[in-house]
């Protein structure tokens, strides 16, 4: 899954060697006008609202502070210890792991299979693509509410299925055993279409000659798929995995309408844990410590992943 509508494997784009125009002569000072006028707005906004807050999070995380006035009660690394001692934090971490596992083991194969089917031209293929993609652009909040109806033990679709078999319906979102499972299903529902689209776009960009050549050499459909198409898709698969993991680390909106992280903190993600335990209790120090931990996980992951899995691109 990937939470925000995003469009590229991030880091890679920077690497593309820049080939700026080399300008000599009279236009020389025009360059500086551009730099002075065009760069500061972006850099300023980015610094004030992205970089500085991250730095401040590190600073605030050393205080016990309720957000009023200025932080004065310095407690060093205690907030980190408090976070690590909170059982719900480890549950949240486990849940993020579960989301990643489901993304890789269920969502990715599903998306790939569908992409292979729908990349071909047949009547209805485009309509189906769009249909499968649609959940992705719906707001997480709306999706969460829709599924809290679907799962509702009294009114929902699940309830009526159970009633059909004459049993009392379980409240999936209300049990510590099933709440996270229910959320995982919603995650697949919402995000598989995005990954499918990634694969379709990749398939359409494939060199058809390679496939043709293999066919002429007498390879079966299955062999072509296994030995030609899938290997050609590796970059996209790695990209899809990257999005799934980053997306899992940001998941929040979907959890709130479904369970708010409950029951008994069994379905928190790292971000909903941060909201429930930091923001809504106005424990700025504690919440900032969670933020810093999350930040560290994200950055470490991004760099490691890039180094180990995307280096050939």
């Amino acid at each position: 899954m990937a939470r925000r509508i995003a469009s590229s494997p991030s880091l890679d784009l920077v690497e593309a060697a820049p080939a700026p125009v080399v300008v000599r002569g009279p236009a020389w000072d025009g360059r500086y006008t551009v730099l002075i006028l065009f760069l500061p707005p972006a850099l300023l906004l980015f610094t004030v609202f992205v970089v500085v807050p991250i730095g401040e999070a590190a600073w605030y995380s050393a205080f016990s502070w309720n957000g009023f006035g200025k932080p004065t009660n310095w407690i060093g690394l205690d907030n980190y210890r408090f976070v690590l001692e909170t059982r719900a934090f480890w549950l949240a971490l486990r849940n993020n792991g579960l989301i990643i596992a489901v993304s890789l083991l269920v969502q990715l194969p599903l998306a790939l299979t569908l992409a292979l089917m729908l990349a071909e031209r047949f009547r209805g293929a485009v309509a189906l693509r769009m249909l499968f993609f649609m959940p992705y652009i719906l707001a997480e909040i709306a999706t969460g509410l829709i599924f809290s109806f679907v799962y509702d033990g009294d009114y929902g679709l699940v309830a009526s299925i159970w009633r059909f078999f004459g049993a009392e319906a379980p409240h999936l979102l209300a049990s510590t055993d099933t709440a996270m499972l229910a959320i995982l299903i919603v995650i697949v529902w919402k995000y598989f279409g995005f990954h499918m689209m990634l694969f379709i776009a990749a398939l359409q960009g494939l060199d058809k000659n390679l496939v043709e050549a293999a066919r002429i050499d007498g390879a079966t459909r299955g062999q072509v798929l296994r030995h030609v198409v899938i290997p050609l898709l590796y970059p996209t698969i790695r990209l899809s995995v990257f999005f799934a993991i980053i997306g899992s680390l940001q998941l929040f909106d979907l959890v709130m309408p479904l369970t708010r992280g409950g029951p008994a903190d069994s379905s928190n993600t790292l971000v909903s844990f941060l909201y429930n335990n930091g923001i809504s209790r106005m424990r700025v120090g504690y919440g900032s410590a969670v933020g810093v931990i999350l930040f560290t996980i994200c950055v470490t992951f991004a760099f490691t992943y890039k180094r180990w899995f995307m280096r050939d691109e």
């Binding site: 125009v21 730099l35 004030v48 957000g67 709306a142 109806f149 971000v271 700025v284 999350l294």
Partner: protein
């Protein structure tokens, strides 16, 4: 018997399984959505016994009440204002920066660009508490800008990268010729780069719009007055108020996701293009 049948091409079982599989997935996607739309047409009593099917009595009242309420339109207006602000600012700020990065060589260019792309690495949530305090100290709590500005800041990285790559594809000779003719960089940006870049601007704009339109966490933290609430916040309040009256909540959900679906139908090209633009660069 058999010989007659075989005059038609036999139904390939692979095709059949494929069709069944696709139908099952389509149902998986569609059923919750249809149940939501139809649920809004039912009474609470009927919803309980018949959550799936078509309503026996079409209750137009649920939808009508919402459509004629000030609340619904206020939520949509707020969302529209915030998203428009975010899109406008993102396009202006990001395209200027992207232009500088694409066409001007200067010391530290690649360093600054790497600095901006740090924004891709972590979600806004990590810094949301300090961000709240920052916005408060700037006096922007409870304003549209308090939500829109952080949104712009967090979408800058992606936007600048996308725009820069597109700008770089504008032929170098064009810029050189223009400069020799005494045209300034700024004029070139205004009269050549921007008009040529409409597709990518539309793509970046659409992505920013959808993200901002759907956002929940930032408005939740930054806004406190319900007159300013965008629709994701408003619908959560609505749900808190009508807790189990699902028929009303479903009607409300339907009407609030409607604009997204309409936008999707008209702008699907840009949305899909936006997400695949970088992915398949090869």
């Amino acid at each position: 018997m058999n010989s007659v049948e075989t005059t038609r091409p036999p139904l390939d079982p692979v095709v059949l399984y494929k069709a069944l599989f696709l139908a099952a997935i389509a149902a998986f996607v569609l059923v919750p959505l249809l149940a939501t739309v139809l649920g809004g047409f039912k009474s609470l009593g009927e919803l309980r016994v018949n959550p799936f099917g078509l309503p026996q009595h079409w209750e137009w009242q649920n939808y009508a009440d919402i459509l004629f309420s000030k609340r619904y339109w206020q939520l949509l207006r707020n969302s529209l204002v915030i998203s428009t602000l975010a899109v406008t600012l993102t396009l202006i700020v990001a395209s200027m920066a992207a232009f500088a990065f694409a066409h001007v060589r200067f010391f530290g260019s690649s360093m600054l660009l790497s600095y901006l792309t740090l924004g891709l690495l972590f979600p806004a949530a990590t810094a949301v508490l300090p961000l709240f305090i920052k916005v408060r100290d700037l006096g922007l709590l409870d304003t549209y800008f308090g939500v829109a500005l952080p949104q712009v800041a967090f979408s800058l990285a992606m936007s600048v990268l996308l725009l820069r790559r597109f700008f770089k594809d504008i032929p170098y000779e064009l810029l050189e010729a223009a400069l020799v003719d005494g045209c300034s960089y700024i004029k070139f940006f205004r009269y050549v780069t921007l008009p040529l870049s409409r597709p990518i601007l539309a793509t970046v704009g659409t992505i920013t719009f959808v993200n901002s339109w759907n956002a929940y966490l930032l408005p939740l933290v930054m806004l406190n007055t319900d007159e300013l609430y965008p629709w994701p916040l408003g619908i959560m309040v609505y749900q808190g108020e009508y807790s189990s009256e699902w028929h009303l909540i479903l009607a409300f959900i339907t009407l609030t996701i409607l604009p997204t679906i309409i936008l999707f139908i008209f702008a699907q090209r840009h949305i899909v293009a936006g997400l695949t633009a970088g992915a398949v660069k090869g």
